[in-house]
């Protein structure tokens, strides 16, 4: 690590001119959400970040609220990388939309002629959600909604598409995590769903 340390020092940001021995800033590596801190993370200008205005917090804030993809320590230089806020916001817009009032997702049910839309923020947890869905689609359903995840014997399973586009069973993750990653809901036929449920 010694050699790496030397080259790190050359590229480290400081207030003084390179070559002068400015006092080393404490390298408080911030790791959130379990992402491994790379050696380069140390070299960022924490001196700069101490002077950072609220705007850098704002840029980071979106990552914080979401909790899943935390910005690495690298991100703490104000206004760097030089990208317009408009563009930054667009790329993160999906997350931001989730934070704003109302988190509407489409709900489809296999065989039903039309879809519905619900506000995930309007429910406190999975139980309330299932009850609401039960209520909404009971005119189409021929059986009861499952009370537990994917238990066989029920007609339907509630699944959702997450932000990566994968089809997931509702109920596995904590509620907060669910509503931040759920993009749409799909009420599946029990026969199709059995494949998901039988993994347990």
């Amino acid at each position: 690590m010694e050699a790496a340390g030397e080259s790190l020092r050359d590229t480290e940001l400081r207030l003084g001119l390179p070559g002068t021995d400015a006092p080393e800033k404490p390298a408080s590596t911030v790791t959130r959400g379990g992402k491994r801190a790379l050696p380069e993370d140390d070299e960022e200008g924490y001196a700069k970040s101490n002077k950072s205005s609220s705007s850098s917090e704002e840029e980071q804030g979106e990552g914080d609220l979401c909790g899943h993809e935390p910005p690495a320590a690298k991100a703490q230089v104000v206004g760097w990388p030089p990208i317009r806020s408009y563009r930054k916001n667009s790329l993160h817009a999906r997350k931001v939309e989730g934070e704003a009032a109302g988190l509407y997702v489409k709900v489809s049910m296999d065989g039903a002629p039309y879809l519905r839309k619900i506000d995930l923020k309007g429910y406190k947890g999975y139980k309330e959600l299932r009850e609401a869905l039960d209520d909404m689609f009971k005119c189409f359903s021929l059986g009861e909604f499952p009370r537990k995840e994917g238990c066989s014997g029920s007609e339907y399973a509630i699944t959702y598409e997450d932000k990566d586009g994968d089809l997931m069973l509702v109920g596995d993750v904590p509620w907060e995590m669910f509503i931040s990653s759920c993009r749409r809901l799909r009420i599946m036929n029990g026969s199709e769903a059995r494949g998901l449920g039988s993994r347990h």
């Binding site: 790379l38 690495a72 690298k74 030089p82 806020s85 790329l91």
Partner: protein
């Protein structure tokens, strides 16, 4: 020449297209000044505080098109406080009084209130074009005023503005009698627009050539719009979320087939990659493609799309295209002139999306390249030297290595030689942005070779005052210099004070310039505004008795005929 009657001189001036040429002829003699000013139709004000609006209106009473820029460029990156200034209202008020024939207004980086849009709309019912780029301060209410009153509007172009959304009715405010729209861009609006109103508007504007929708417009609506306007040349799609098995998707493909004139494609919000095939029929004709707002499209899908685009001249993508994807660009897009590669993972911890390899590939395949914006994780001197050799026609070269101060990873050297090669080879270079580890040497090269350079952006670079001095003494066409986090101090600032009157502006933040240095500059050069921007909190010493030795956090210097601003906020001190 003074023997010619004014009409002849005026007719000769008609052939002068650029602002700079017209400015030049106006300084020849009083007669020419008069002829020129009365016949000037388009006026460009690069810094809204360099001259009073009234003065502009008085000088150019026949003005038809006014272009004004407000905040300094670094405002794009949150380096300029929110309420620093750049207000559009004084300009609109002055135009309302002094230039009733105004037909076009183009503003960039300015604060535009609803009040000013309303005044604009009422004062200029015959307004033909309104273009707002990177502006803020207005809402859909202001847009409603424009739509309501400007009955012969041809162009409404909103690019990357921060707009408050108060409802979807502004579009419905275009009266039925409005049939003149040629270009409409509302892609930056966040909220929904009335789909029916939009479709009816499109249907009654047969001259419509450009339409850029926002994210809220659905595929179904897009399909109906394209059915009515197959003559579109520029299209920004809305949200392209559609089930690729559905009827809606099939209809969309059919509609795209009919758009034979489409040359410019953007948008692609929320697109399902499986739906990209619908666009393939128009790709062979495209000259401009912007995929930079579509993080959902993986590299492989981007590549599949680009393989069809062999006439492309301008391409904006995200770095998930990868070096391999750029190699495909190099082999497919032989007409490419402008490439922008944006980072998709801004806070990423290191899956290197594009590196020097991608850039080298594009440079060897696309010799016509003249404009580049490239965000990457690393760059080498060897690569830059190769790029310089392959593409000597660069006019704009902006390289951003995401890690500030990062050296050449192979040799561990600064990137002085690489950038030096660029400025030496590209004799027409007008704009340059530097990044990576750089010493004073790169500035020596820039001062020596970059004769046509007009704008230079420096960040985390240089060793000493010498660096900045090389640039100020060398680049005779320099107009804008912006520097952040670099060790340039008072000696550099004061070395060539006359230079600043030949430039539009100088920005320095987080450098070594002191309050005393700024005061000295202000004292020597009364026709410059030397603004010191202090956003410090209460504990900041600046509030009490600031010593001259105190380093200035942010400084903005610009030449002006208008004197110090009288509406500058408290935290801006004009020395």
């Amino acid at each position: 020449m003074t023997y010619f009657p004014d009409e002849v001189v005026e007719h000769i001036f008609d052939f002068l297209v650029s602002h700079r040429d017209r400015n030049a002829v106006s300084t020849v003699c009083k007669a020419w000044y008069q002829v020129e000013r009365l016949s000037r139709r388009s006026v460009f004000v690069g810094n809204c505080y360099s001259v009073l609006p009234e003065r502009v209106m008085t000088r150019f009473p026949g003005m038809k098109c006014l272009i004004v820029k407000g905040k300094p460029h670094f405002a794009d990156f949150n380096l300029v406080p929110h309420d620093w200034g750049g207000f559009a209202l004084p300009w609109i008020e002055a135009a309302a009084h002094g230039c009733p024939g105004l037909e076009e207004l183009r503003l960039k980086r300015m604060v535009v209130s609803d009040e000013s849009l309303e005044l604009l709309a009422r004062s200029f019912p015959d307004l033909k074009a309104l273009v707002l780029i990177s502006c803020e301060g207005f809402s859909t209410d202001g847009l409603a005023a424009i739509a309501t009153h400007c009955r012969s509007l041809r162009e409404l172009d909103l690019q990357e503005n921060e707009v408050e959304d108060y409802g979807r009715q502004w579009l419905s405010c275009f009266p039925d009698s409005c049939t003149t729209l040629v270009s409409l861009n509302f892609s930056c609006l966040k909220g929904e627009v009335n789909a029916g109103a939009l479709e009816r508007l499109v249907a009654r504007c047969p001259s419509l050539r450009g339409l850029k929708l926002n994210r809220a417009v659905s595929v179904e609506s897009l399909t109906r719009i394209l059915d009515r306007a197959p003559q579109l040349v520029e299209l920004g799609t809305g949200s392209l979320t559609v089930d690729h098995h559905s009827e809606a998707y099939r209809r969309m493909i059919n509609t795209f087939h009919k758009c034979k004139l489409l040359r410019n494609l953007s948008g692609f919000w929320d697109v399902d990659p499986r739906c990209l095939q619908s666009v393939y029929p128009v790709c062979p004709n495209l000259t401009v493609l912007n995929l930079s707002y579509a993080p959902s499209i993986q590299g492989a899908d981007q590549v599949k799309l680009i393989r069809h685009c062999f006439k492309l001249q301008k391409l904006w993508v995200l770095d998930c295209i990868g070096d391999k994807g750029l190699a495909v660009v190099a082999s497919t897009c032989k007409q490419l002139q402008e490439l922008r590669v944006f980072p998709s993972d801004i806070y990423g911890t290191g899956t290197a999306a594009v590196t020097e390899e991608g850039l080298v590939a594009v440079s060897s395949g696309c010799s016509k390249m003249n404009s580049l914006l490239y965000f990457c994780h690393q760059m080498t001197n060897a690569a830059l030297i190769t790029v310089a050799k392959n593409c000597p026609r660069f006019i704009r070269f902006r390289l951003c290595i995401l890690d500030p101060g990062k050296p050449d990873p192979i040799t561990n050297q600064p990137l002085d030689e690489g950038f030096g090669a660029i400025v030496q080879s590209c004799k027409d270079l007008r704009r340059l942005s530097l990044s990576g580890l750089l010493t004073d040497k790169v500035f020596l090269y820039i001062g020596e070779y970059a004769a046509r350079l007009e704008m230079l952006s420096i960040a985390f670079a240089g060793d000493s005052d010498k660096g900045m001095i090389y640039v100020l003494n060398g680049c005779k066409n320099l107009r804008k210099l912006e520097i952040r986090d670099s060790p340039f101090g008072d000696a550099a600032l004061l070395e060539n004070v006359g230079k600043y009157e030949t430039m539009r502006s100088l920005w320095m933040s987080s450098c070594d310039v002191t309050l005393g240095g700024c005061k000295a500059l202000a004292a020597k050069m009364p026709r410059l505004n030397v603004e010191v921007i202090n956003e410090g909190d209460e504990s900041d010493e600046m509030e009490e008795n600031p010593s001259d030795a105190h380093k200035v956090e942010k400084m903005y210097v610009y030449r002006t005929l208008a004197g110090p601003r009288n509406e500058a906020p408290d935290f801006v001190w004009t020395l």
